[in-house]
Symmetry: C2
Subunit: 107 residues, 2 copies
C-alpha cells in the first residue's frame, strides 16, 4: 500500500557516512530515516529555512540542539528549529535508528 | 531540556473522544501524540491544506488513507497527503499511541 511503510524494512547501513533514506515527501514535508552505526555522527549543522525533528526508534545517541546536549534513547523526540545548530553522534553500543522530518524539505 | 521530549511522558487517555496533545509547533510543522483506547476512532476526514503522517508507537489500529485500508502496528508510518481522506480506529486490544505531524499546522 503506497501510503504505509514499515520503517524496519527501510533500515540500512553505510560507511563511512551514516545511512539516510527518504520515506515520504511533499512540498511541505519530508520524512526519512537516519541510521548511525556506533561512533558515526551527523556533525553539528544548521538549516536556515527548515524546522527538523528526530524521533529515536532504536539505540541511543548524544544530541546537540543549540546550547543543549543530551543523551536520548527510544521514544525521545528532539526538535531543531530553523537556524539552530544541531547534530547527533551514536554514543551507544548498537545501531541508532532515527525517524526524522523536515518542513519544508531541503531544496 | 526544551528541545527534548520523552513522548512516553506525554501519553494520555480521554473519553469519549481520544486524547490529543501537541509536542512541538512552528509555523511550518506541528508534532503531537494521538492516543486511542480500544474501540476509539478518529473518523475519516480531510485536511485541504495539510500533509499529515502517523507513526505507530504502541498498539495497533486500522487506518484508512484514500482507498487504502490496512492494519498497522509499531514502526509503521502512514502518510495522508493534503486533500486525501484519512482516519484510524483502534482495532487492537491495548492502547494505540500515534506520533503524528502536520505541515503546515492546522490553523
Amino acid at each position: 500500500m503506497a501510503n504505509f511503510i514499515d520503517v524496519r524494512d527501510r533500515v540500512g547501513r553505510s560507511e563511512p557516512k551514516h545511512y539516510k533514506t527518504t520515506l515520504f515527501q511533499s512540498e511541505e514535508l519530508m520524512l526519512g530515516l537516519n541510521c548511525l552505526e556506533p561512533g558515526q555522527e551527523q556533525p553539528v549543522h544548521t538549516h536556515a529555512a527548515q524546522d527538523k525533528f528526530y524521533l529515536v526508534l532504536e539505540g541511543s545517541g548524544t544530541f546537540t540542539v543549540g546550547r543543549e546536549e543530551g543523551v536520548a534513547g527510544p521514544f525521545t523526540t528532539v526538535w531543531a528549529p530553523r537556524g539552530i545548530e544541531h547534530g547527533v553522534r551514536n554514543t551507544g553500543s548498537g545501531r541508532l535508528v532515527l525517524f526524522m522530518g523536515m518542513a519544508p524539505p531541503p531544496s
